[in-house]
Symmetry: D3
Subunit: 163 residues, 6 copies
């Protein structure tokens, strides 16, 4: 079982001990897409022009969700996250969500970035479900990670292309 | 803006008023997939045979996450959810997650089911990220919904096929 | 000590027993003001025209805060709140906040409405504190309440006048 | 929009990046008042002599509320607060609440101090609302702040006078 | 595995489906003890006479903890608890804690009563640990339960005797 | 009152100020037992062989509960816990639970270790209550503590013997 660091040698789950790891600056960037009917997408972007901004609600939900990561993911360490930023990009059939999270801490913030994207995506779904129940959340993944012992991770393919 | 029920006529966000809706039994079923390297998938299913069960951790995270839905999704109503069940199916390159949530209440549980799938998927990612950072969470969507004024929703396509 | 229902006859705090109270529809409306420099106020209302809407952030914080009321106020009952709406009005030297909360339940939602106003006010402070640390939150009070055994409450004075 | 640090240049909300700020000792002190009928005030102070202490309940609620600040205020950083103290002073028509919060961290604790005062005030309201629904929470503001790049803030007027 | 209702036939954990159970009034009473040095016990009861009441802090923690039960115990249903009362009794070498919880709902409140006792006991430990690190929390158990299909449960032995 | 550090000189509760304490590595180990009928104990250990593992659910609940400690215990400091491990040992009439918690911080983690044991014990109760309502949680106590100004604590007696 040695490969899964969240289990000990007996295969019992644990929060990995990072007590002796140095405090370093860490960044993680995650992405994901919410696919929907073109008219739903149009409505979202129309909503930015008038008041009632779907994406701004999703942005705040993503930021607040990232702060709850360690209460959602059982074996995640609590962290005093030091910066969270979410961006939305309009694609032909989807909204592309990107979240960047930073911390000065003993462990990384991949899960916080992925949770930010997930909660923002769920919030877009919630805001739009009255007009489009068939939306699909896809391609949530890590695209960049730096800081800490495991070093730099940079995704090579484009995980969230136009479709 | 009338199409998005989470905005009032001025485009201001609100929690939709369901005070006068009857209490009825409601069900929602959602699905999603976590794609990964075949050897990661093999490790997960090996982990079920010995102790240290990745999917059981994800299952509990999904159940507990569903109970936090209204604290994650800004305009979601709090609900006294009356049943949550998560199932995992092995596919060639992915784990398929299905969550069924029930409530006897004034509004539906789509968001609870979608949140259960999302948090379970994030937990699988967290448990396996030491061996595979490139996993992708995809095709999170509603597949079934019944109860309440909007009636039955049944997804017709297969949203989470083998790939 | 009989006057304070949150204490028993020995003066010990308790969550008042409402088990036998009927489920009825209840509404509570609360108000409050955030006083600030005129130029800060101008900036907030300018921010609504371009993107980056201070009041929309405060609105969402108020709605989400109302859902956390029973975890903030020690002796408050948990409730499945069925509707929350926040409005902001520009006054000469202040933003007037009004929150209306509804529930179909065994006890009232005054605390949820007052908490919504308070959290929205704190969020306005947080968003603007870099430009104006001297803002003051005032006149948070109940203005209307109906439903339940204690009947109708209607505040007669104008608690939040222009100043 | 540059004035509001919680928005980026596009006016999109974000949690401000403090990753590179040094860890320093910080203090913030906030105040507020709960105005009420004189007989309600008398009852509160009587309750301290016998058992059933309204202000002790409010004190604990304020301390616990301060620990939830980053889950209430959307763009607030999570912090490992290192000290919280609340004091209550009897005025002629009001209870004056003062909260002092400390942290050794990368950002300040104004919001924690203001949240502590607000939650304590709401709790006083909750405890006494059966005898006095017309209470008003006023004059919540920052009175002192030190530590961090923005330096010392000391409020010059008396924000919470006897009335 | 049929005996453990929290597992399905495949031994997978789930939140048991109570959607079709009727809403009935339910009560649960739990008890527990915190054993300590006699001088610690004396200090606690002295603290009630002057200000600074250990047991009142523990009481509030127990009440608030009961409201968090479904976020602590993975497979517990969320419930809108309708009454919580905690009592403390001085024994020769221990404080006896009793919690009574009520709900009008589809499932029982044993876990809420047991959680109330546990959190109150932990809080007594926390308040007194500077003077007595060797305290022991014991005999936490259900003593009474009524309402719902499983009928009346009344513990026959005295689970928390003087020692 | 000076003995109880959670009260100030006026006997008012507070979160003790640890701002000036150095950050050091700290460990705390706590234990407790859940007593039950022998056949219930047998069922739990049988459940480990097939799928549906009572103790694994309890383990995760304990880990997640430890992360919520500062939201349960009113005067506890929030901490970024850096490692949590729970072990279960079969005794003749009980399950022995041991939790070890680590932090690099300004204050100790006794309460986190004791909370982990308590929440794991409550979860065992919840999972098994359908077959055995008379289970008893006992002997929750600190067994080891190191790091910080108060130095080493090592419990000398065996607090959780076979019975």
């Amino acid at each position: 079982m040695g490969d899964f660091s969240h289990f000990n040698e007996q295969g019992e789950s644990r929060m990995v001990d990072v007590t002796d790891k140095p405090v370093t600056n860490r960044v993680a960037v995650a992405r994901g897409q919410v696919f929907m009917k073109e008219e739903t997408l149009q409505k979202i972007y129309d909503s930015q022009i008038v008041k009632g901004n779907v994406l701004e609600v999703a942005r705040l939900a993503g930021i607040m969700g990232a702060k709850q990561t360690h209460q959602l993911i059982p074996l995640c360490h609590p962290l005093t996250v030091s910066g969270i930023e979410l961006s939305f990009y309009r694609q032909q059939k989807s909204v592309l969500i990107e979240a960047a999270v930073k911390v000065s801490g003993q462990t990384g913030v991949e899960m916080e970035a992925l949770t930010a994207v997930s909660v923002a995506a769920l919030t877009i779904y919630d805001m739009c479900k009255a007009v489009d129940r068939a939306m699909v959340i896809s391609n949530i993944c890590l695209v960049h990670k730096e800081g800490g012992a495991s070093g730099l991770f940079e995704r090579k393919d484009d995980p969230c292309p136009e479709q």
